[in-house]
């Protein structure tokens, strides 16, 4: 009943633009995971992909499937919602584990001076 070639140029444009923006943000976030220096800095980076990145990709999907089916598709809202609710859990567990390790190894990064904070090899 429908194929990608049947949607209008305008919605095709928005679908592509949002998809590119979302994936660019996710890519930058993943690059940050590689590039940033300490563990605590690195865990910040992927949140780009889990917030605005997934938001843009979901919006692109909403635009595409809404124009394709001729009715508003909102299922993607759930993906964004579940991502937002569950990401903090993973991040908190990771960060607390790192903090626990630092504390048992005698270098409590959260209590140390910012300047003296341990900086793993660059």
């Amino acid at each position: 009943m429908s194929s990608a070639s049947e949607i209008s140029a305008l919605s095709a444009f928005f679908t592509a633009a949002l998809l590119l923006l979302g994936s660019a943000l996710t890519l930058i976030g993943s690059l940050g995971l590689l590039r940033l220096r300490s563990f605590y800095e690195r865990v910040h980076a992927p949140t780009l992909g889990t917030t605005l990145g997934v938001g843009c990709i979901a919006m692109s999907s909403i635009v595409y499937f809404s124009t394709l089916a001729g009715q508003v598709a909102l299922r993607e809202v759930l993906i964004v919602l579940f991502m937002t609710i569950t990401t903090p859990i993973t991040l908190m567990v990771l960060v607390r584990a790192a903090l626990f390790r630092d504390q048992t190894e005698g270098q409590d990064a959260s209590r140390a001076n910012i300047e003296n904070a341990p900086r793993p090899r660059e």
Partner: protein, 161 residues
Amino acid sequence: MKLLPYPIASAIFLGFWLLLNQSLSTGQFLLGASMALIGGWALAALEQPKARPRRPLAILRLAFIVSADIVKSNIAVACIIIGFGRRERRPGFVDIPLELRDPYGLALLACIITSTPGTLWVKFEEPAGTLTIHVLDLVDKAEWINTIKSRYEQPLLEIFA
């Protein structure tokens, strides 16, 4: 046993079900409603504390502020990673004394803080109410404490008063 021990959670379950099935037909509504009932009883069996959010307008305003902040900090962190405006950047931890004690308020604050790239929830110490966050680009500690308290904690205190 009460029929609807957690009305808000049950309403959310029903909303999820209808969204998931993209339909408002009577059949799906009945299925969703039974899911919502069972879900509510399951929560009751787990003896979860009850959420009493108030002031829907404050909730909307907070949602708007947070969405804008998410977009802003996404751009800021993307710039940091790519390396625009390269200058001395200092990551660091900030301790914030919180007045907020409601578990749902705290959970929401955790979602807000981790959802805005550049800030990360590290730990919350219950008796003292001290929240430790990690900030990717720490310029001024006092300013961060002020921002979190006035921008997010204050509305949350109003909502979960």
